[in-house]
Amino acid sequence: MSNKGRIIRVAGPVVGAVGLSFPRLYDVVRVGHLGLIGEVIRLAGDRTTIQVYEETAGLRLGEPVISTGQPLVVQLGPGLLGQIYDGLQRPLTRLSEISGQFIERGVDAFPLATDVPWPFAPRVQVGDAVGPGDVLGVVPETPVIEHRVMVPVGVRGRVSAIADGPLTVRDVAAVIDVGCGQLREIRLVQTWPVRQPRPVQAKLDADEPLITGTRVIDAFFPVAKGGAAIIPGGFGTGKTVVEQSLARWSDVDVVIYVGCGERGNEIADVLEEFPRSIDPYTGEPLMNRTVLIANTSNMPVAAREASIYTGITIAEYYRDMGYDVLLLADSTSRWGEALREISGRLEEIPGEEGYPAYLAARLSEFYERAGRVRCLGTGRDASGGNPVPRIGSLTLVGAVSPPGGDFSEPITQGSMRVAGAFWALSYDLSRRRHFPAISWTQSYSLYPLKRWYSRHVARDWSDLVGEAIALLQRADELEEIVQLVGPEALSDNEHLLLMIAQMIREGFLHQSAFEGEDRYCPLEKTYWMLKAFITFYHRGRRMLDAGQGLDAVRALPARAALARLKEEPAENAATSIKALVDQLVEGDA
């Protein structure tokens, strides 16, 4: 028997073949004389159905199909950070050196640089007993990330040799005696099948927020580290800008940014900006903590599907080292559409809106790969002696592009069921250039983070947030009344509320992602800003109660100051805004 078959059908990215001897589902095959990469997605009798990750034009009936006998894997090792890959983890910069500015077919290159010597520092000694996930040694991958070389899953035994000093990714870092006289060589680079979640010891509760520097998220709808959030919004509502802000300012160690079926020019933007932008937490260029996966909308559709899995597997790998990892997927709708397109070519019976019936299951599988976990293996405390559990987290944020901005469509609905935070983008807000256009009425967060905030920021945090949200909702209702019967129908108190709501919208929720001081707002500043607005409201209420009119409130000098709080430098925000708050409180005296 041979592992060679031949093509009997070509329809877009779907190829049929016969003659492969033992094809397994999700095995990688090479298709045609060009050796295009494909994956087995259906088996029926002698017939193998393959989705091909490259353009299939020119494939001929009878051309060979060769099975590799391996599932689709990613190569994991030092050198991932700072790279840009396509959906199949081909290094795009290397590809451009090989085949020029346009992506040619059948071109391949190893994902990691094979000639870079990494200074490997061992963390174990010969004779030590080690198991899966234990750290054998470390290399400084970037100035901010120490790459921990771990014992692969399924390997347990005693260290019989360990390297020390410069190693390339293909060199042997350690030899492990797994018993019965068998030795396993562990290299810096390891592989993992993308469709299989990497195992962990235990999933833990997510009780710490991911700090994003975006006020509306941090204050109103935070996502937990290890949680999942979705950002649905029609075109032009700012999904990509929100995702990019998260990639820049989130307080995580590693960011994996998956551009799945999106714009090439946006990837170019990230590629130009990130090496120049500075991470506010470490002072290093952002690229040192980032891996980009770019499968733009004109690249083959099946690879779009793979890009999501490639990204999340790399994310899990860094999580397993004990890091906080953020995976941004822009956009999961393109992934869903790729599933639909393949499903259509397979002539499967469609579910809702032509999507396959297994769409919801695939979405849940994906979002459930997020989590805060106790990693396999044990870490060592600072003295290097006592074992301590290693905790890592993987937070997932998926953009969703619902057709016509209508959230009732299957991908938004399927994602909402599994994501704990929902940041709904609103057409109405984006049209008045209120960014981020995250709707305060439709969005929500289910993560129990109140305790963290009251312990780490301020006791009255939840009260302030609760009052602000209630105030904004009430203002929306009042505005509807004004639309119907005119502003005269409102009392002074209601007018005050409308005024405060507008001030909060423009002075607090509106935040420029691009310019100056405001694009990153530390939590402390967020807190004091919110406190200032609510204190102003209380002051206004007291003035009205005391019989002073609305105009008196309007004339308070603090009103103009509040509108410009955003420009306040973050370093002295706490002191300067606190002074304003104190002044507002004392004003009564």
Binding site: R9, A11, E55, A268, G344, G354
Partner: protein, 477 residues
């Protein structure tokens, strides 16, 4: 793809099993390739071209470019050409008028090929793309000031039947310049590649005359597929135009502006083929791969690091039934870097160009403006104009219900501002404004308003401006 080209003598088949719509089905066709070009000879001996859409077992599905009328099952012969569809290109195409297959329509000689390129192109490697950040001055305030276009961007104009989108496109083609760092326009204008996809004779005449009148004609390549031409060729006209643009931009270092009109006709042709193949339809009968197909066109805009040339796309599409959530504008908006939306309301008021700035957007704007590119005050001024105009529009809706009496003085000022903004800023007519003129006009309009209404402009910029009303703070009180 020379390696996949068979060396054997080209075989001819007479094994048609079915003709359906624009498709023919062929039996016993071993060794044919997906997307291969075929020559079909009809019973009268006349030749037409087609392309393989699917191969399965030993039969193929072939799409016939100029339609299947007159073909039969017995005598029609099919020959496989061993290659995918290609277009002959040359720098001498500038100034010419061609059909979707690259054949002259202007009575001139055929194009002598300098190269023959796969019309599907290949995706640009995202790692070598340069981010579009050079400001293009179109001379139109609503675009330059509020939805700035950059070199290498793709921006559609969403229009409605009966609105002057063609006039706007022609005006942009004539006026578009790239500003140098000193703010002066570069002398070198754009080369224009114009794809007329399924448009009427009247519209074709309009464009050719407009290009002649503005002196754009000799730096323009025109590809024409008229409304009464075979609809399948619409799919090729767009690709031929983009292949030519890539050749001019990335081989001959030109800055190319591609204008394609009307993408709605393109999408309908795509739907026609999908329906004939009995594919599972997606929304409104359009195929599930409409997004991917449109992306394969729009993503051919851009710039490449280390190359001088660029491709900027301006795509016109008519929103069916004035519906922006229709799949064609919807999917387009998800791929392109923003959109310019025209409004029937403004058109009725006599505003030209009738650009509704609120739903319009340019995603590359932030990269193309500011100090050294346009002006330091550009971004805050644009943000302020948006916020004020949006408020004005809300107030208009309000007075329609409750009457003007209920308005405060501040509201009245904003209403006046919105009116003047539409009439003067947007409704500029056929004039060509520099970016300085556009921004100065914006300041002039904002000067109607008390200064503390302008919250989006940093304090220091307000201080720099000489305010028209010295007592504005008093008024606000």
């Amino acid at each position: 793809m020379a390696e996949s080209r068979p060396s054997l003598v080209l075989k001819e088949y007479r094994t048609l099993s079915e003709i359906r719509g624009p498709l023919i089905f062929l039996n016993r066709a071993a060794g044919i390739a997906y997307q291969e070009v075929v020559r079909i000879t009809d019973p009268d001996g006349v030749m037409r071209l087609g392309r393989v859409l699917e191969v399965s077992g030993n039969h193929g599905v072939i799409q016939v470019f100029i339609g299947t009328a007159g073909l039969d099952l017995k005598r029609t012969r099919v020959r496989f050409m061993g290659d995918v569809a290609r277009l002959d290109v040359s720098p001498a195409m500038l100034g010419r008028v061609l059909d979707g297959a690259g054949q002259p329509l202007d009575g001139g000689p055929p194009i002598v090929p300098a190269a023959s390129l796969d019309i599907n192109g290949s995706p640009i490697n995202p790692a070598v793309r340069a981010h579009p950040s050079e400001f293009i001055q179109t001379g139109i305030s609503a675009i330059d000031g509020l939805n700035t276009l950059t070199r290498g961007q793709k921006l559609p104009i969403f229009t409605l039947s009966g609105l002057p989108a063609n006039e706007l496109a022609a005006q942009i083609a004539a006026q578009a310049r790239v500003s140098g760092p000193s703010g002066q326009a570069e002398t070198e204008p754009f080369a224009v590649v114009f794809a007329a996809i399924g448009i009427t004779h009247r519209e074709v005449t309009f464009f050719t005359e407009a290009f002649q009148a503005s002196g754009t004609a000799e730096r323009t390549v025109v590809f024409i597929n008229r409304a009464d031409d075979p609809s399948i060729m619409r799919l090729y006209t767009a690709r031929a135009a983009l292949t030519t643009a890539e050749y001019l931009a990335f081989v001959h270092d030109q800055h190319v502006l591609v204008i394609m009109t009307d993408m709605t006709n393109y999408c309908e042709a795509l739907r026609e083929v999908a329906a004939a193949r009995e594919e599972v339809p997606g929304r409104r009968g359009y195929p599930g791969y409409l997004y991917s197909d449109l992306a394969s066109l729009y993503e051919r805009a851009g710039r490449i690091r280390g190359r001088r040339g660029s491709i900027t796309q301006l795509v016109i599409l008519t929103m069916p039934d004035d519906d922006i959530t229709h799949p064609i504008p919807d999917l387009t908006g998800y791929i392109t870097e923003g959109q310019i939306v025209l409004s029937r309301d403004l058109h009725r008021k006599g505003v030209y160009p009738p650009i509704d700035v609120l739903p319009s957007l340019s995603r590359q704007m932030k990269a193309g403006i500011g100090e050294g590119k346009t002006r330091a005050d550009h971004a805050p001024v644009a943000a302020e104009l948006y916020a004020l105009y949006a408020r004005g529009r809300d107030l208009r809706r309000l007075i329609a219900i409750i009457g003007e009496a209920a308005l405060s003085d501040e509201d009245r000022l904003i209403l006046d501002f919105a009116d003047r903004f539409e009439r003067e800023f947007v409704g500029q007519g056929q004039t060509n404004r520099t970016i300085d003129e556009t921004l100065d006009l914006a300041w002039e309009l904002m000067a109607m308003l008390p200064r503390d209404l302008l919250t989006r402009i940093p304090e220091r910029m307000l201080q720099q401006r000489v305010w028209a009303e010295p007592d504005d703070t008093e008024r606000a009180r």
